[in-house]
Symmetry: C2
Subunit: 335 residues, 2 copies
């Protein structure tokens, strides 16, 4: 059933059918109804390819992320998909993995599908060395590129970020204010937002002259889901003689590992060990006591991201970067 069939049955031209399909105002009420009736009776749906070919868009957005099953990224994707759909856009998903190799290739696949924009979820798409970010610039030359929780200064790329530096700074300060003087920072990512968080921690510690040992910044290099290994690393740290009564974690998963560490070592939380997580995920509810964490208002970020994108589509000039502050959710792993 094509537009020709409909036009014939309705006794009008294909242009007229196309017009009622696209809600053009230049159609008399009478013919509009006539066409709609025919469509109704015979059940026509436009051919998306032909339409795409004519309009040069299929209202589809490419979403890139490292791992769609990561707790945080999955939530982000969920929100983004919702908001896109509300704006009548579909989303093509592409998971690139954490390895730094096939990002450009992934992006090209999306671009070849003629997506109208690309949304990069998470901060591990940005390289230190500017020239390696060329693939982003190349994409941005074709369609708007949106970054969630990452920033890079390239034309036609827009960033929506949470203020990770400030969040971590405040979280650390809060921990210090409860009397902890020797916390460690536990992190697993050195991406854009990873760096911001780390700086936040450092800034707070340096303020109090508390940063005595580089060991206080504990980097975990294992799998993002390997909680036992994370716990083991903390146990080892203690065995090596580093004393700490607080853990500031860059992710709730790492924080849960800290809670387990405490349980294994027989430490009371928060009396003997305070723990602060990040992302305020469901993991905060998984332990006793429940986890203090930082909520980065992800849904708001996503909402703003999509809103910005729609405005860009409308040709409106939009800020290249929007920063949203997070919120410390105090629960029971801190005093």
């Amino acid at each position: 059933m094509t537009i020709y069939d409909i036009s014939e049955k309705a006794g009008v031209s294909i242009a007229t059918v196309s017009r009622v399909l696209n809600g053009s105002s230049n159609v008399s009420e009478k013919t509009r109804k006539k066409v709609l009736d025919v469509i109704d009776r015979y059940g026509y749906t436009p051919n998306a390819f032909a339409r795409g070919l004519g309009l040069n868009t299929m209202k589809t957005i490419g979403i890139m992320c490292a791992d769609s099953s990561d707790l945080f990224l999955a939530k982000a994707i969920y929100y983004i998909e919702q908001k896109l759909r509300a704006n009548e856009y579909d989303s093509i998903l592409s998971c690139t993995g954490y390895e730094h190799k096939n990002k450009a290739a992934s992006m090209n696949l999306l671009l070849n599908k003629k997506v109208d924009a690309i949304i990069m979820v998470g901060s591990n798409f940005i390289y230190e060395e500017a020239e390696r970010n060329k693939y982003i610039a190349d994409a941005a030359a074709q369609v708007p590129v949106m970054l969630l929780n990452a920033y890079v200064d390239i034309a036609n790329v827009y960033s929506i970020v949470s203020d990770d530096f400030m969040s971590m700074y405040e979280a650390t300060n809060y921990l210090l204010s409860t009397g902890v003087t020797d916390p460690i920072y536990f992190y697993a990512s050195t991406s854009y937002s990873g760096k911001k968080k780390l700086s936040g921690f450092k800034a707070a510690m340096e303020l109090g002259n508390l940063l005595d040992s580089p060991d206080r910044m504990q980097f975990f290099s294992g799998s993002h889901e390997d909680i036992p290994a994370m716990t083991a690393q903390l146990c080892l740290l203690r065995q090596k003689g580093l004393a700490f009564h607080g853990v500031v974690a860059a992710d709730d998963t790492l924080a849960i590992a800290a809670v387990k560490y405490a349980m294994e070592e027989g430490l009371r939380i928060p009396e003997d060990l305070s723990v602060i997580g990040y992302n305020n995920s469901m993991l905060t509810q998984c332990c006793i006591p429940e986890l203090t964490s930082i909520d980065n208002t992800l849904e708001i970020l996503c909402e703003h991201l999509i809103m910005t994108l729609m405005e860009v589509f409308n040709g409106k000039e939009m800020p290249k970067k929007a920063v949203f502050s997070g919120q410390l959710i105090k629960r029971s792993t801190t005093l």
Copy 2:
């Protein structure tokens, strides 16, 4: 840069260009190279819409799921996306939510985008009443429909399921074999696989004549992530006087709630309370002791699903239903 530009610069016809692009064998090595060189130099990528219009496919699969941020569904989507990409297909994601309303509409949106198949992830797309599943039959009339962890007998729909009945039956039997005689079953979904699991539990209990009270089947009706509410429900159950020394949970999240319940009530695990979860997610690592759970070999299911789909595309006759058995992963919440 279109195929015309390339053909002109290479001094051949557009048909020839198209042929080298599609790897047709009817091209001499010399001209193939010539065309490839030009493409290389000028950087041409085919227009996906025009291609789609000609071939009537864009190698895109629609994925439907209730909530892409659910731990289990997110993993499934991740695997599916991976395997699809390995087969040079892209995936369009559509999250429908758990409400039973706009599934058909969602499906039509995907169909209108001319996806080559639809994959429904999770079992809450199947209705009891056969006539409500008409929207699936309608879709299946157009493209193959794949169901992950659900089954319905409709032409052109293929099911890949884990043997939830047997898994739960064995899990329950195992629990009983450790000496627990009064477990409760804790569940939150009455979908296809939800029912299977419940039957598995019941079967094992009835075998031992242990199913004394309907209260032993505890349905949780709150949000899928509201662990505190789950915990509260168990506490309440105990206050109401129902004794239980084991919890068989239909999902790791519910199992975590049971672990928290034990901690709050001061019960030792597994001595005073045994807990078995389901899905073997990362949550099993989040508590101490670590959670005994059922692994439903999700990656294998997904692999098989995509394999089946590809065979269907190739016109091969495939079984309408493939069942994979799960595996009880014994950890420390059971004796």
